[in-house]
């Protein structure tokens, strides 16, 4: 005769003030105790009647018990005090502790944190790159109204040239769209101190410059029109020079800086961090009357303008088009030239805009993959925790309380993931600063912009908002996924192996396919960038950088042509005689530094656009330049030391030049005219190999080389090749230069190898960024697929057990576990290849030299993705194969 103890208790206990669920729970607990007492008595050998009596004795007075329980007076919710506090905030501490414990006990916590950290870190770092490089503070007032104006002639490969003084003055007088136009040029200024010379990077500007740029002096004032009368005697100094030379003296205005042998009065100090194309040490004033006197074919100045408030950039472009059309009619020598207006901000960001946005796009994909994985992990957590939730709900925890717990857990995850993501982004940017170049060339011009260092400090509001939004999105989606999973079975108390987790749902299918697609696309893009950088690395610049050291010497603006030529000749002889030096040579520019210098050239019997004179790049070099740089002689002879200012004028051309003007013919012996006065008619004596002067991804330009001695520039590049096996004798080279004249400086010695490497530093940095993110995505995909397959395999263990028991072989079991996921991954891979094709086409249109997506790359990426999918499936599959039918079914 077995007593139903639940009925027994329910018949005797009445708790009207308590919620029915709570009452049921109390009844259940008491009945359990009575039943256990009864069982124990029976096990001790007592009779049924005695055992029942012993159990009944547990509660001798039901009325008293009812009273004592009623004394709790509370409805069910307050009885479960630890589960549900009376006030909204009460119990928050408990919930927090509970959430910490629950998270700490969650096996997938490391995976979830890695996911959040990577996704948030990637998006934050990429956003910071875009912010610093594209949307940085320019230091210019209303920078959106500031524009560059460039002379353009596509026929001679000059999309953004510098302008001549007279043409600039015509622009200034005839245009109506600007509140002002200013010209500026940069250069080196020799500063003498204690008998030695130092060089300052200087900017020479017309009087309107600071008003046009919208920059005020930090101390003192900037230039005004009235200063023109004493243009050679005044200077504005940088913040750095103010600190170094004048110890930050607040009364620096009026003090004297000795530049070019003549004292310059300091008018003011530039704001800290002021930079245009490089950060000048000093700014001097250009006298517009000097520009007036210059030749219209002396292209020397950059131009900036400030748009009138009622004019757009397009208005300014139309304005300049009309002015240029008139100028071309007035000056036939300008035929073929137009002018191009570009926004200041856009132009300065141009070299890095594409890499920055590629990184942001890639980071978005990482975020998407992280998002999918977070949703999946939290949904799995919900499925695991449904029984716990059900019990809590049954004990009277309100849905609001359960929601609050979920939100607290989510907030904790967000805080940890966000914090780690922040640290990851900061570390990534620090590392990135060592990989990205400090300067980048503006394509089509001879201008180079300084790239600000990447940092999270001072991030714009949009970076913070984007990161917070990404974090919120990750958790919101995760919590939504979790909630959906929980909604499957919160009500029934008996929630065992959740049916939902066994299904390869549409969501999982999409998640798995999406991850594979993202990884395939990103890996393909990274592979293409790798091929691009590989090709650039393999591209010969046309010279042998070897261990050649290049530096600038001279600053001999105070000497006449003869004096300069003597100085340079003595320096080359002294350096070439230095122990450890194999050879030395001069070139007025360094290759791969984005400098250009064009000169008018006339070739008898040839006309260009109906005119006898064309423009080509030229370089003034010494005889030792070609052997020092390892530039091969193709035909004729190289220049010799004897080809100096006293000899017959000769020239050497490169192969591109020879191909362009004498296709199929040997130019050696031909006479050409160089419009620069001291050269005039010269005989071509040789053809040398092509050198990629501008960048490795652009073909060599036609180039003319002449002996420097006739018109040496005030600054020349000195190139030195050490003897094989000898230490690079930089100190000895310096001593040799100074043995000729100790007051002349040696500027910026650099290994030619570094110039070659730096010439594709932006591409390399983009490869690093995109490659790292692609590998991350690949790993996230691996982890994500593993999680999905593992959950499915675990949930289907009972089914597999049944199949096993019915005689299913290994193949069938593997098919059951891996079949559908592999199919989804394959579909995702195909979508990814499509995405890669689109991305490749997009990049090919924007990046010079970008390779096409070929079957080899696609095959390699597919193999990589396939390996990851297989690796992700191996463990769950092995577990599925090891399922013991009996164990699995008993667990069920």
């Amino acid at each position: 005769m077995a007593v139903n103890w639940t009925e027994y208790v329910r018949a005797r206990l009445s708790l009207p003030g308590i919620a029915p669920e709570r009452e049921a729970a109390i009844v259940e607990e008491l009945a359990a105790q009575l039943e256990a007492t009864c069982e124990r008595a029976r096990a001790a050998g007592r009779s049924d009647a005695e055992a029942t009596a012993a159990a009944a004795a547990e509660v001798p007075d039901w009325a008293a018990l009812t009273a004592s329980l009623g004394g709790l007076t509370a409805p069910a919710r307050t009885i479960a005090a630890a589960d549900d506090p009376p006030s909204r905030l009460a119990g928050l501490g408990d919930d927090l502790r509970h959430a910490v414990r629950a998270l700490a006990a969650w096996r997938a916590l490391p995976a979830a944190l890695v996911m959040l950290t990577l996704a948030i870190g990637a998006i934050l770092a990429a956003a910071a790159v875009v912010d610093v490089w594209i949307f940085r503070d320019t230091g210019l007032a209303r920078a959106d109204r500031v524009v560059f104006v460039w002379p353009t002639n596509h026929a001679v490969g000059q999309p953004r040239d510098v302008v001549s003084g007279p043409t600039f003055l015509d622009w200034q007088r005839r245009t109506t769209s600007f509140t002002g136009l200013a010209a500026f040029a940069d250069g080196g200024l020799t500063v003498r101190r204690d008998g030695a010379a130092d060089v300052f990077y200087s900017l020479a500007v017309t009087p309107e410059f600071f008003a046009v740029a919208g920059v005020n002096a930090a101390v003192g004032r900037t230039f005004v029109a009235d200063d023109v009368g004493r243009a050679d005697a005044i200077v504005i100094i940088s913040h750095g020079v103010w600190q170094r030379e004048f110890a930050g003296d607040p009364a620096v205005v009026g003090r004297t800086l000795s530049a070019l042998g003549q004292p310059h009065e300091v008018l003011g100090v530039l704001p800290e961090g002021f930079a245009l194309f490089g950060a000048p040490d000093v700014v001097t004033l250009l006298d517009p009357r000097r520009l007036e006197r210059e030749s219209r074919s002396f292209y020397n100045y950059w131009t900036i303008g400030r748009l009138r408030d009622d004019r757009s950039r397009a208005d300014a472009q139309r304005d300049l088009d009309a002015v240029m059309a008139a100028l071309v009619t007035e000056h036939p020598g300008m035929r073929g030239w137009t002018a191009t207006v570009t926004g200041y901000r856009q132009t300065m960001a141009e070299p890095v805009r594409l890499p920055a946005f590629v990184l942001l796009a890639v980071a978005m994909l990482v975020l998407a993959v992280g998002l999918g994985n977070t949703v999946h992990l939290l949904a799995c957590r919900a499925l695991d925790g449904r029984r716990d939730q059900a019990i809590r709900a049954a004990l009277g925890a309100s849905p609001a309380r359960l929601r609050r717990l979920r939100v607290i857990e989510g907030a904790l995850l967000a805080a940890f993931g966000g914090g780690l993501g922040l640290a990851l982004a900061a570390a990534t940017l620090r590392l990135a600063n060592t990989l990205v170049p400090t300067t980048a060339a503006i394509a089509g011009s001879a201008a180079t912009v300084a790239l600000p260092r990447l940092t999270l400090a001072g991030s714009s509001a949009w970076v913070v908002s984007l990161t917070l939004a990404a974090t919120a999105l990750l958790l919101g989606a995760g919590l939504a996924g979790r909630r959906q999973a929980e909604s499957v079975a919160v009500t029934p108390l008996r929630a065992t192996s959740p049916a939902g987790s066994a299904r390869f749902t549409v969501g999982r299918r999409l998640l798995l396919g999406g991850q594979t697609a993202a990884a395939t696309t990103l890996l393909s893009v990274a592979a293409l960038l790798l091929v691009l950088v590989w090709r650039l690395m393999a591209t010969s610049p046309g010279f042998d950088p070897g261990r050649v050291i290049a530096m600038q010497i001279g600053l001999v603006g105070d000497l006449d042509a003869g004096g300069r030529a003597r100085y340079y000749r003595d320096v080359v002889q002294a350096v070439a005689a230095t122990p450890g030096v194999l050879s030395a040579g001069l070139n007025d520019y360094l290759p791969l530094t984005n400098e250009d210098d064009y000169e008018g050239i006339e070739i008898p019997g040839q006309r260009h656009d109906g005119r006898p004179v064309t423009r080509e790049e030229w370089r003034r070099v010494s005889a030792g330049y070609f052997p020092t740089m390892g530039i091969p002689l193709v035909r004729g002879r190289l220049l010799a030391d004897s080809d100096d200012e006293r000899a017959v004028s000769v020239a050497v051309v490169n192969e591109a030049f020879a191909r362009k003007y004498w296709p199929g013919h040997d130019p050696v012996g031909t006479r050409i005219r160089i419009t620069s006065r001291p050269y005039d008619w010269s005989e071509v004596v040789g053809v040398v190999g092509d050198v990629r002067e501008v960048s490795l991804d652009q073909p060599a330009k036609p180039m003319l080389f002449v002996p420097y001695q006739r018109a040496p520039r005030p600054v020349m590049g000195l190139f030195v090749r050490p003897r094989p096996g000898a230490e690079a004798p930089l100190a000895a080279i310096r001593r040799a230069v100074w043995s000729v004249d100790p007051t002349r400086p040696v500027v910026d010695p650099v290994a030619m190898r570094r110039l070659v490497d730096d010439s594709f530093a932006v591409q390399r940095a983009t490869l690093w960024g995109a490659g790292t993110l692609a590998v991350l995505t690949w790993l996230l995909m691996l982890g994500g697929i593993y999680a999905i397959v593992a959950v499915i395999a675990a949930a289907r263990a009972p089914e597999i057990a049944v199949r096993r028991a019915l005689g299913a072989g290994d193949g069938q079991v593997l098919m059951a576990v891996m079949g559908a996921p592999c199919l989804a991954a394959a579909a995702g891979g195909l979508v990814g290849v499509g995405g890669a094709a689109v991305a490749a086409r997009l990049l090919a249109a924007l990046v010079p030299g970008m390779p096409d997506l070929d079957p080899l790359t696609t095959g390699a990426v597919a193999a990589l993705v396939g390996v990851a999918v297989a690796a992700a499936c191996v463990m769950p599959a092995r577990r599925a194969l090891a399922v013991d039918p009996l164990v699995a079914l008993r667990a069920e």
Binding site: I26, E29, A32, E58, V59, L72, A80, D94, I391
Partner: protein, 123 residues
């Protein structure tokens, strides 16, 4: 029935006796989570049957402790068993237990000093 067999005390220590039932339960929960029946059994066994908690005493007490936030209960299911409600100490329960232990230690020390009674050694 709830019996506590111990020396009669004067009025000043009566309040300590009153709290001793809660003290016992809290002490037993300072370790693994336990369900109600297990608690009753432990009290009986460890006191050699001198202390006995009946259901009528134990559950109102547990619910009261739970309401005070000193213990927290949760239902636990095991294969082939009736589900049981396990109780554990909350952080505030642990603080209260520490406080009670200190009070009882002081009280027993005082008793010992005054009466020459040696504090019972724990089993």
């Amino acid at each position: 029935m709830f019996h506590i067999y111990m020396a009669k005390t004067d009025a000043s220590t009566r309040s300590l006796q009153k709290g001793s039932a809660a003290f016992l339960v809290l002490s037993l929960l300072d370790g693994p989570d336990r369900h109600g029946y297990e608690l009753a059994q432990l009290i009986e066994r460890r006191s050699d049957g001198r202390l006995a908690f009946k259901a009528a005493t134990l559950y109102p007490l547990l619910y009261k402790l739970e309401q005070q936030g000193w213990v927290a209960g949760r239902w636990v299911e095991r294969a082939g068993e009736r589900r049981k409600r396990y109780y554990r100490l909350t952080a505030s329960g642990r603080r209260v237990l520490g406080e009670r232990r200190r009070i009882w230690r002081d009280f027993l020390d005082a008793l010992d000093r005054v009466t020459g009674l040696r504090p019972a050694t724990s089993k």
